[in-house]
């Protein structure tokens, strides 16, 4: 392991800032876009034996995802046209394969073959008439819409469209606004999304369908979505991402104004799943976000563009306003609501308008006051699109205002065991050339006191990380000794002793490189100040003798704090309560009225009974002595003797009792 550099400390605090910022929902980052594009860019090869349905589906998902990612979607046109055409003309054509084939023909810009198209459209129309499943209607209307768009089919009649709309209307659950997948099948969000897309397709292929039924379906869905949480409503959906994507696609295609909070909920679901591992999930996330960003009341996202700014002149708070897929949103009203230090929260600046930066769409800025002190700040920002349809976006951002940190009055003092200065070392200014300076020999009974002050700009400052790093020159092992500020927080001190170093790093190394490291979120750069090397006496070497007559430091014992006792009144109360079972026992015995008539009468038996009961009393008395005065070794021999006597007496007593009982029987 090498010595962690001082810059590493700054990286650490940067990571802290980044972690705080990422706790909020973020729109797409360029890295995430790149990762998704890499995931979906690998085109499958289409051999003769390939399953055309699967191949078409995969290529369609890839092409659609890349299109949304604004990547050059290099769809293998010739291959796509060949497989899609062949699939459409196949006698075993399934509805789903036909849907993907028709979609891809459009994406790849192929010409739809008339015969195959006619056959596929016939299959779709047959499914619309005979199937009771919404998923089949979805694929059928999608297929016909795609063929109509390519001029290969005239579309549906008004009657057919009205019929499908009426059947969809019957599947709406009135309370939740969620649609069932078919008669007697469970309701799901995916079906709801598909139903909305079907309505949009019907509008496209057949003109205005049964307008009232369609309006009622959309109204029921929007109303239900506003009432329930998406997680609850999508309880019956196995794939939540697919359901969210289908629902958003449907909502974006029909005239609707869904509750912005619910849209935010859906956006969060998708954005939380940006790091997906499969093509299907990538497609669902991208399609959902794309649909969301096309809605007039889609949520906006605000991100910090520059979390670190210098404290000196021309420092700006810069934010970026983007939609769900990360496209910058131009022309917003962006307001900085408050700027407050992260530590005490007392605002240093109030409400102020942020100005859109010229030439940078979606980037808004506000200049910090000149006297802003270095430190960590929380910035509250609000953004509203000027047409006021979108809900206001809010964000709490973290901003580090940084200044140049410097170390002043650095002193190295060699002290004896009781803290008396033995020698003061001259250190080259600000550590320059320290490595070349003569090493410091640290005897066993000595310690090296490092003291210094810290400044941010011209002002005294306190830093988050102030440590002296000790690196073993031979082994590369290292240890940190923290420097502590004094009460006024103007002076830092770290004490290095041979014993403390050996305790942490062992006795392998005798020469150490010491470096003062200072890092803070308010520092524009971390400080790394090397000291002269430290030399420890060889292991086993006679430790340096203390000066004769020198008093050793007083040993201060630290005792454990006694546990908290209850108030006397409570203790007395419970003592009284502990006695009450005795009273209950005596009362109960009085009610039961036990008699002594079973007590033996013969002399031998009386002696045995007395010995047995007396033995038990003595043993309990011995236990009490054991509790108060004796130890176990003292107690056990006496217990053995008493136990033996009691056992003999008890045996005699109980044997007599048993004999009498058997005789009576």
């Amino acid at each position: 392991m090498g010595l962690p550099s001082a810059a590493g400390l700054l990286l650490l605090v940067s990571a802290l800032i980044t972690a705080q910022a990422s706790a909020q929902v973020q729109p797409f980052t360029p890295d995430q876009r790149q990762a998704l594009a890499s995931l979906v860019s690998d085109w499958p090869t289409a051999g003769a034996e390939v399953d055309a349905s699967l191949w078409l589906r995969k290529v369609f998902l890839q092409a659609a995802t890349l299109q949304i990612l604004q990547r050059p979607a290099v769809v293998p046109q010739a291959e796509t046209c060949r497989v899609a055409t062949r699939a459409l003309g196949s006698e075993q054509l399934s509805l789903e394969a036909g849907y993907y084939a028709a979609q891809l023909l459009g994406v790849a810009g192929c010409t739809a073959p008339s015969n195959s198209s006619k056959a596929a459209a016939g299959l779709a129309l047959a499914s619309l008439g005979s199937s009771g499943a919404v998923a089949d209607w979805f694929h059928a209307t999608g297929l016909i819409t795609a063929l109509q768009a390519m001029g290969a089919h005239p579309g549906l009649s008004r009657q057919q469209a009205d019929d499908v709309t009426a059947r969809l209307h019957k599947l709406v659950e009135p309370k939740s606004g969620v649609l069932r997948a078919g008669a007697g099948k469970p309701a799901s969000m995916a079906t709801t999304g598909r139903a909305l897309s079907i309505l949009a397709d019907l509008q496209a292929v057949a003109g205005s369908p049964a307008q009232q039924a369609a309006t009622e379906i959309v109204a029921a869905v929007v109303k239900g979505l506003g009432r329930a949480s998406y997680g609850g409503a999508a309880a019956d959906d196995l794939d939540k991402l697919e359901a969210a994507a289908l629902l958003l696609q449907g909502l974006a295609r029909v005239p609707s104004q869904p509750n912005p909070l619910k849209l935010g909920e859906l956006a969060r679901l998708l954005l939380d799943n940006l790091e997906v591992g499969t093509l299907e999930d990538a497609y669902h996330v991208m399609v959902g976000l794309d649909a969301l960003s096309s809605m007039p009341n889609a949520p906006l996202f605000i991100t910090s563009l520059q979390p670190f700014v210098p404290a000196f002149a021309q420092a700006w708070v810069r934010v970026r306003v983007a939609d769900a897929v990360g496209k910058p949103v131009h022309g917003c009203h962006v307001t900085m609501l408050q700027l407050a230090p992260a530590s005490n929260g007392k605002p240093v600046a109030g409400k102020a308008a942020m100005v859109e930066v010229e030439g940078e769409a979606g980037v808004y800025a506000w200049q910090l006051p000149a006297a802003t002190e270095p430190g960590l700040y929380r910035v509250s920002v609000e953004a509203v699109v000027k047409d006021a349809v979108s809900p206001a976006a809010h964000a709490e951002l973290v901003l580090a205002v940084q200044a140049k940190l410097s170390v002043s009055e650095l002193r190295l003092e060699l002290e004896d065991a009781v803290g008396r200065e033995v020698h003061r070392l001259a250190l080259p200014a600000a550590g320059q050339g320290a490595a070349a300076a003569a090493p410091i020999s640290l005897a066993q009974a000595q310690q090296l006191k490092v003291s210094f002050g810290l400044k941010a700009g011209d002002q005294p400052a306190v830093a988050q990380q102030v440590v002296v790093c000790i690196l073993g020159k031979r082994s590369g092992d290292y240890a940190f000794v923290p420097a502590q500020p004094d009460k006024t927080k103007r002076q830092y001190t770290a004490v290095l002793s041979a014993s403390a170093i050996e305790k942490q790093l062992g006795t392998k190394d005798r020469r150490f490189q010491a470096t003062l490291l200072v890092g803070d979120i308010a520092a524009d750069a971390a400080l790394s100040i090397p000291f002269p090397d430290l030399l420890l006496p060889q292991s086993g070497q006679e430790p340096a003798k203390l000066p004769s007559g020198l008093a050793k430091p007083e040993i201060v014992h630290q005792f454990r704090q006694p546990d908290k006792r209850p108030p006397v009144a409570v203790a007395v109360l419970f003592t009284g309560l502990a006695v009450t079972p005795w009273i209950v026992l005596l009362g109960a015995l009085k009610v039961v009225q036990p008699s002594m008539k079973g007590f033996p009468t013969t002399r031998r038996q009386v002696l045995a009974a007395t010995g047995f009961h007396g033995g038990i009393v003595l043993i309990i008395g011995l236990y009490t002595l054991f509790w108060l005065h004796l130890n176990l070794l003292q107690t056990l021999p006496v217990l053995g003797l008493l136990g033996l006597g009691t056992a003999v007496a008890g045996h005699t007593l109980l044997q007599g009792s048993a004999n009498a009982r058997l005789k009576a029987a």
């Binding site: 209950v584 109960a588 015995l589 039961v592």
Partner: protein, 111 residues
């Protein structure tokens, strides 16, 4: 409510038929249960310090209760078929020895 009172009356009249020896044992069972309850209430309401003393006292009460219940079962004529090879004298001797062992352990843990 009437049904409850009739159940209680029936229980009381049946309980009166229980031998006195067993009723005395029942008194001790009640005593042990109440003692354990008071200690538990103290720990819940006030605190568990000193915890070893609480453990010793509580487990002593519970242990005594269990041993006494066992004794009652063994002395009860109604369950004589279950313990037909165990004489009442043997049950009493077992009870005494077990209790003395329990108390030795408890005194040791009490601190």
């Amino acid at each position: 409510m009437d049904r409850l009172s009739s159940i209680a009356q029936s229980f009381a009249s049946e309980y009166k038929k229980t031998p006195v020896k067993l009723r005395v044992i029942d008194c001790f069972i009640l005593y042990a249960a109440l003692t354990a309850l008071v200690q538990f209430a103290y720990v819940v309401l006030v605190g568990s310090f000193p915890f070893n003393a609480f453990l010793a006292g509580f487990l002593c009460s519970v242990g005594f209760l269990v041993l006494t219940v066992c004794l009652r079962m063994q002395l009860d004529p109604a369950s004589s078929t279950e313990f037909k090879n165990l004489s009442p004298e043997r049950a009493i001797a077992d009870f005494v020895v077990c209790n003395l062992l329990l108390f030795l352990v408890v005194w040791n843990v009490m601190g």
